[in-house]
């Protein structure tokens, strides 16, 4: 499958995403430059973690205006798959490709840790390789990961199944103690209404190798790859 990883000035996990996709998962992944508009025929776009443009305004607020993001928005409108990880999630919210916003962590401090998240809806292109209710161990590292949205919107999102990942404890129960950043309803990852755009604060690209602490991030990539293969077989068939 063909992937495009966008490199903004200040992107940090861009090389990690490329490494995970190419070296670990054997995918065809190219780096895309923020000043370009071409997406290089990618079937899935990754907006990686980092501090795009320094995040000196609001996280992701400047990145959404970059030339590449205009192409990404068009690509998403046409149903193309887009996954935003950490800063990428923030950019997608700023670009209104996803609902809600990400605020400073409740603790007011940056947090780097491994968390457990529960898959809330496995019937999406980003989670189909997992089971609904499955618990994944994934690393987080962010200062502004507190997900917020208007109550009414949250209720509608829950009903439509747009909440894909929720912070839970080891037993699978959401609680204040298991919520690392104060996100409303312990939300760790959401999709848009078309289920082709997905943003999450945990880093699946940092959880694909056992030697580095875990492989649960493969679930997310395997889901996307499985969908890509299905689409390809539809085209060829």
């Amino acid at each position: 499958m063909k992937w495009g990883v966008v490199r903004f000035p200040g992107s940090l996990d861009d090389a990690d995403a490329i490494h995970a996709l190419r070296e670990v998962l054997g995918q065809d992944a190219a780096m895309l430059w923020h000043k370009d508009e071409a997406l290089g025929g990618a079937e899935c776009i990754v907006l990686p973690g980092g501090f795009s443009y320094g995040d000196y305004l609001r996280c992701g607020a400047i990145a959404r205006f970059s030339p590449i993001m205009q192409s990404v928005a068009r690509f998403a409108a046409e149903g193309g798959l887009v996954i935003g990880i950490c800063n990428g999630f923030q950019i997608l919210c700023e670009a209104h490709l996803l609902p809600g916003a990400l605020m400073r962590n409740r603790s007011l401090a940056f947090v780097c840790d491994v968390v457990t998240v529960r898959v809330e809806n496995a019937a999406t292109p980003f989670t189909r390789a997992a089971r609904t209710g499955e618990i994944l161990r994934l690393p987080i590292k962010h200062g502004e990961g507190c997900y917020v949205a208007p109550q009414e919107e949250l209720r509608a999102m829950e009903e439509r199944g747009q909440v894909l990942l929720r912070y839970v404890d080891e037993a699978g129960v959401a609680s204040d103690a298991a919520n690392p950043n104060g996100s409303m309803r312990s939300i760790a990852g959401v999709a848009n209404q078309g289920f082709n755009v997905f943003g999450l604060m945990p880093h699946p690209e940092h959880a694909v190798e056992k030697a580095l602490g875990g492989e649960d991030g493969r679930r997310i990539f395997a889901s996307i790859i499985a969908g890509g293969a299905r689409a390809a077989s539809r085209v060829s068939g």
Partner: protein, 745 residues
């Protein structure tokens, strides 16, 4: 251009009083007038004051640093470059260095710590190496001190704020709290980069006529005299007013600078490159010219400025961050400028290399400084300052005082108190604020004896650790320094890596006091002897003097960063017990003692001197650990440090995959508190399958190797009849100690 530079309108008159206000001594000002044959201009005086400052010139330490072993079969790169490098195999070299940012961090903790991280990263990528890991050593005052919480929050926030945003993982560190640092905290920042051997860059100017490029952030007024006035003087009541001498960091620009510089280096158009650190444009330009035996001419009107009205004095002395100076091949400027334009960074040609050996600065068409390059870069004074043994060690006297209140607690109570002491307890509150995984190389991160990193596309790997032992150094600055090096080596070896090289940061008081100078010299001698014995060359380092407040010096604090190498990183070890039924063994090269221990700090203990360290036995211990790891004979290894054996046993049980237990037979010494809580014995706790016990004994011969118990699944720590504790409860104490003291109410 042979006419002497003329004073600018409005500049202060240069005389002895002005020179002294700049931190220069009467003798130094006389030497400057003698070298020049005239009185320097105000701009030139500023240049001399920073270049001849202790911070830049190492004038008090240089003579003694020459005794350190700086070469070895694995050392790469000639002397005089920014940082040393060691060969780590498969064509890779590791470039690393540790540096202090103590005074700025006390005055303005967030920016002081942040720019400490930024500065050390530039020292690494200027060599052509991509920074892949950071570490730090932090020393704060006691929690009773009103400023401590503020300083901890600011420094940790600054380290994380910069490191997290620049994409370099913070993988290890140490944090200590002691009243001796109440008025002078220590913030030592370390960075390590990897480069292909053939890609290492030079900081030696070549080729008269080659253009000089200024890249990175524009120059502002921040940080002027950071090196001379802030870093090279004691603290006093006035220090607060020096806040403007602290620089402000911009990690986003640093990230762009890293990528742009590494990309620009690939063009082959760079002749030499150096970061603008202390003394900024002045030091980078004069040092590159000095190394090449050439001159340099700078046109200050072409320097990118934040404010148009900066004076030449300010432009030359600014310590604005995220700036680099490049000597390019003539005719290839545009190639380099295209790379920096891609990353939206300034890249201005601001001068050229000359053949006349002069360091010359032009401003608005006039020469404002014209000095022999050597006078500022090489001919700074070198002092052989007097040294003498202090009358009585303060630490011993203090220990004697605290001994009076000694009332030995029960072993279990002592263990709980030690695990809850900020110096022993988990530092998770700190390192949870650092990104430790970016770049996808971190196999073992913070909380381990040593961090373990893989090298992609290779089986090789690195282990990193930073250590210090100021309490031991306070009792005996020589033995303390030896112990520090040995501990750092042991930590790296506990991970299974072979110690390969050292960078050091030597934090001491005012070198103009003979007893401080004596501490310093003894410390360097200890570092030398241990480094030679362990075969670990000292490839880089930094000296931080004047760590005093109101005449009270810190304890001597040589901080040792040790880098070890793995031939096969898959064979790395962690500190945690893994398999129930495994034998628990200790290997030690000496006898444990309450001297300089955390136990003594908490409960008091009779004062005693430090036992001398047998370096041959230390080497045996380190080599044995590496052999055990490489032959897969042991399943875990953990160094016994603060809190002694009982604490180390508890820590080995705190396996993140599930708490293990340990049963220790009381044996002949199980009830002896000093065996349980003493330190300084160079002891390692290992776990191993029973069938390997015999060969492990042979490997460590003639050291003391003893099977003391076995690993269990019971999650209890049992030591004879003395201790029988629930490890989950102990872990709670261990984890909650720092949050309990540092979290907002």
């Amino acid at each position: 251009m042979s006419a002497a530079p003329i004073a600018l309108a409005g500049e202060p008159r240069v005389d002895l009083a002005e020179a002294r206000a700049h931190g220069l001594s009467t003798e130094e000002f006389a030497a400057i007038e003698r070298i020049l044959g005239r009185t320097p201009t105000f701009t030139e005086l500023g240049v001399f004051s920073v270049m001849w400052s202790e911070h830049c010139s190492y004038k008090s330490s240089r003579k003694h640093l020459r005794m350190l072993p700086m070469s070895g079969p694995n050392v790469v790169g000639g002397p005089g470059e920014n940082a040393g490098a060691i060969d780590v195999g498969d064509g890779w070299v590791a470039v690393f260095k540790i540096e202090s940012h103590n005074h700025p961090s006390y005055v303005e903790p967030y920016q002081g710590a942040a720019t400490g991280v930024g500065g050390i990263l530039r020292d690494i990528f200027t060599m052509g190496a991509r920074p892949i890991a950071s570490m730090n050593s932090l020393k704060f005052g006691s929690f009773d001190h009103p400023r401590t919480r503020f300083l901890v929050g600011g420094v940790v926030g600054g380290v994380g704020g910069y490191g997290n945003c620049v994409g370099v993982p913070t993988v290890a560190g140490e944090v200590m709290f002691d009243a001796g640092y109440n008025g002078n905290i220590l913030v030592n920042a370390f960075a390590l980069g990897l480069a292909r051997r053939e890609d290492l860059q030079s900081a030696r100017a070549r080729g008269a006529g080659n253009p000089v490029l200024y890249v990175g952030s524009a120059t502002g007024r921040d940080g002027i005299h950071g090196a001379s006035l802030l870093a090279s003087a004691e603290f006093d009541a006035e220090s607060e007013s020096k806040r403007p001498t602290v620089q402000v960091g911009d990690p986003f620009t640093e990230k762009l600078l890293i990528e742009a510089c590494l990309e620009a280096m690939k063009t082959g158009a760079i002749v030499a490159i150096q970061d603008m650190g202390a003394a900024g444009l002045t030091s980078s330009s004069s040092e590159m010219a000095g190394r090449g035996g050439l001159g340099i001419e700078l046109d200050l009107d072409r320097v990118p400025l934040r404010e148009a009205d900066l004076t030449p004095y300010e432009i030359l002395l600014s310590e604005s961050q995220e700036r680099m100076l490049i000597v390019a091949e003539r005719g290839r400027e545009a190639e380099l400028q295209a790379v920096f334009a891609k990353w939206d960074l300034h890249a201005a040609v601001i001068g050229h290399v000359t053949g006349d050996g002069r360091w010359r600065a032009l401003y608005r068409g006039r020469v404002v400084a014209d000095l022999p390059v050597g006078a500022i870069s090489d001919d700074a004074p070198v002092y052989d300052r007097p040294a003498c043994v202090p009358a009585a060690s303060d630490a011993l006297a203090a220990a004697a005082e605290s001994a009076a209140q000694a009332d030995a607690p029960a072993p279990a109570a002592a263990l709980r108190a030690l695990l809850g002491s900020p110096n022993v307890a988990s530092k998770r509150w700190v390192y949870r604020q650092y990104d430790s995984i970016v770049q996808s190389n971190t196999i073992a991160g913070p909380g381990s004896d040593a961090a373990v990193l893989r090298i992609k596309d290779s089986r090789r790997g690195l282990a990193l650790k930073v250590d210090s032992n100021p309490r031991a150094c306070a009792i005996d600055p020589y033995i303390g320094a030896v112990a520090t090096v040995c501990e750092a080596a042991r930590n790296v070896a506990c991970a299974g890596a072979r110690p390969a090289g050292i960078s050091n940061c030597l934090n001491y008081g005012n070198p103009e006091r003979p007893e401080i100078m004596w501490q310093f010299i003894r410390g360097v001698e200890g570092l030398r002897d241990a480094a030679i014995a362990l075969g670990t060359p000292v490839i880089s380092g930094n000296v931080s003097f004047y760590n005093e407040t109101e005449g009270r010096a810190i304890a001597p604090t040589p901080v040792i960063a040790m880098v070890g190498t793995f031939a096969d990183v898959r064979l790395h070890l962690k500190q945690y017990f893994k398999i129930a039924g495994d034998a628990v063994m200790i290997v030690r090269s000496a006898a444990p003692s309450y001297a300089a221990s955390e136990y003594a700090a908490l409960f008091g203990a009779p004062p005693r001197p430090l036992a001398p360290i047998d370096l041959g036995r230390e080497r045996r211990l380190v080599d044995g650990l590496v052999e055990c790891a490489e032959r897969r004979l042991i399943r875990s290894a953990h160094d016994v440090s603060e809190g002694g054996l009982a604490v180390a046993l508890a820590e080995a049980c705190f396996n993140p995959a599930g708490i293990m237990g340990v049963e220790v037979d009381a044996g002949d010494s199980g009830h002896d508190g000093e065996v349980l809580f003493g330190e300084g014995a160079s002891t390692v706790v290992i776990s191993a399958p029973l069938e390997n016990i015999e060969v492990i004994h042979q490997i460590f011969d003639p050291l003391e190797v003893r099977r003391i118990g076995r690993v269990t699944t019971a999650a209890r720590l049992t030591i004879g009849a003395a201790i029988n504790e629930d490890l989950a409860a102990l872990k709670q104490i261990y984890e909650m100690a720092l949050p309990g003291r540092l979290n907002r109410p």
